[in-house]
């Protein structure tokens, strides 16, 4: 199947630091790609390049057969179809959960208040937070906040969702509720690119695992292949260090 998202030779520098060396990544419709690797390995940078939140310095990205790295592309239009979930949730603290979810529906999709509300409630329903629709983020737990974050992205009915370490800021006991929402999305055949340190989860849900180190993609493959018989020494080293920590 032709990829829905295809990045060719994208790179990104911050000053003199190369955060991401020229890299390729294809994502097929319905595929779940998980990016793993040590801190500072360029996973988040790669992810944030994909919706041009942090535009790559070089390379091309094609999304649904459209080159989105060209000049003159309406990025606001493109980003409607690419959902993003952040490590720090980034919910709007001055709005209720429902308003967080419906803001873009009303302002970008120009939906009426009623339609946006209906769609927003459906999205909150999907993450199990309908009863909290009138609550401000400050009164929700971390796990609930992140589920609102997922609902906010989901409400736009994106073609692909990007997750930037969605559980890293959570207390351990709250990680499960977020992961189970993401599992449900996978069952619904949502296309996802996920940066995570949750290896058990990666193994469960990923169609493909990509290992990154020092700003480069080192190797990729099915979870079984990558976790049980990694071909690269650096991958083996990273995985064995994780095992030791257990």
């Amino acid at each position: 199947m032709s990829p829905i998202l295809s990045a060719r030779g994208i790179s990104r520098c911050f000053g003199s630091v190369t955060a991401l060396a020229p890299s390729d990544l294809d994502v097929a419709p319905g595929e779940v790609v998980v990016l793993i690797g040590p801190s500072g390995s360029g996973k988040s940078t790669l992810l944030r390049c994909l919706n041009l939140l942090s535009p790559p310095d070089s390379g091309d990205i094609h999304f649904r057969a459209q080159c989105i790295t060209e000049r003159g592309v309406n990025l606001n239009q493109v980003r409607r179809s690419i959902g993003m979930v952040f490590q720090q949730f980034n919910l709007y603290p001055h709005m209720t959960a429902l308003d967080n979810v419906t803001l873009a529906l009303r302002r970008v999709h120009r939906m009426s208040r009623e339609n946006a509300r209906a769609r927003g409630m459906a999205a909150l329903e999907e993450v199990g937070l309908v009863e909290h629709h009138d609550t401000h983020p400050g009164k929700l737990s971390g796990g609930q906040q992140q589920r609102v974050g997922i609902a906010r992205a989901l409400a736009l009915e994106p073609d692909i969702m990007l997750f930037d370490e969605p559980t890293s800021a959570l207390d351990p006991e709250l990680v499960g509720e977020v992961l189970s929402v993401m599992r449900r999305l996978r069952d619904r055949k949502m296309t996802m690119v996920i940066v995570t340190h949750e290896m058990g989860f990666a193994r469960d849900v990923a169609d493909r695992v990509v290992f990154m180190n020092e700003g480069a993609i080192i190797e990729q493959g099915s979870p079984e292949a990558l976790f049980t018989t990694p071909s690269q020494p650096r991958t083996r080293e990273f995985l064995s260090r994780l095992m030791e920590q257990r």
């Binding site: 919706n51 939140l53 606001n76 239009q77 980003r79 409607r80 690419i82 959902g83 993003m84 952040f86 720090q88 980034n90 919910l91 709007y92 603290p93 001055h94 803001l103 873009a104 302002r107 970008v108 401000h136 400050g138 009164k139 906010r152 992205a153 736009l156």
Partner: protein
């Protein structure tokens, strides 16, 4: 003690000059309302323009803002009133005072709004842009409400300060509260009208402080 009462709390004198000071009160109130509404809205507009980061606009704007913040208000009022006529612009004392103070308040308000805008977490911008909102939409719906809330206490202080500076208009013969009070004082050689003037300033600005408290409470949310 009697002497103190007679000098500063002479009710008879206060009563006699009350109508005169009331006129001043109305004028001060008008000036304050105009200065505050023009100054704050202009300041907000300038901060929004600044957010777009166009150097060609921002650089001269910054210069003007810094200049207005550095110069004493009385100097600005004097220059506006006495110097502008030479450039063919003759303003009434009332207009000169209001224009000067509104300009100064706009300069301060711009800085205050700007510091509010920049103190909002970058993740808020990212969240907005990632959902397809454009720059202006993100600024108006997400960043500004959070920035303004941070700006309210600073803005109130500055507003009160500039509001009281309307009394500087008396230097160019605006018949405001202070001007009326000093005239009255020199007529009867008794400073009680000044006490009345002080009371009038309290009546004028205490509601402003209370409104600010209310706004702060109204827009509070938990983090």
């Amino acid at each position: 003690m009697d002497q103190l009462l007679d000098l500063y709390f002479n009710l008879e004198t206060m009563q006699r000059f009350f109508p005169m000071l009331r006129e001043g009160f109305v004028l001060t109130l008008q000036m304050t309302l105009l200065v505050v509404s023009i100054g704050i809205s202009t300041g907000l507009l300038l901060a929004l323009v600044r957010a777009f980061g166009v150097r060609l606009i921002n650089w001269p704007m910054q210069f003007l803002v810094d200049f207005l913040r550095a110069v004493p208000p009385l100097v600005v009022i004097m220059c506006t009133y006495f110097a502008l006529p030479y450039a063919g612009m003759r303003l009434s004392p009332f207009v000169a005072t209001v224009a000067s103070l509104a300009l100064i308040l706009a300069a301060f308000a711009e800085e205050i709004f700007w510091s509010g805008i920049t103190s909002v977490n970058r993740g808020q911008w990212e969240a907005g842009r990632a959902t397809g909102l454009n720059f202006l939409q993100t600024l108006v719906h997400i960043i500004l409400p959070q920035g303004v809330r941070l700006a309210v206490p600073l803005l109130t202080n500055r507003t009160i300060e500039i509001g009281k500076a309307t009394s500087l208009g008396s230097a160019i013969s605006v018949a405001d509260i202070l001007n009326q009070a000093t005239s009255a004082q020199s007529i009867v050689a008794n400073p009680s009208p000044l006490t009345l003037a002080a009371l009038m300033y309290v009546v004028l600005f205490v509601p402003l402080v209370m409104t600010s408290r209310w706004v702060e409470r109204r827009y509070r949310w938990q983090h």
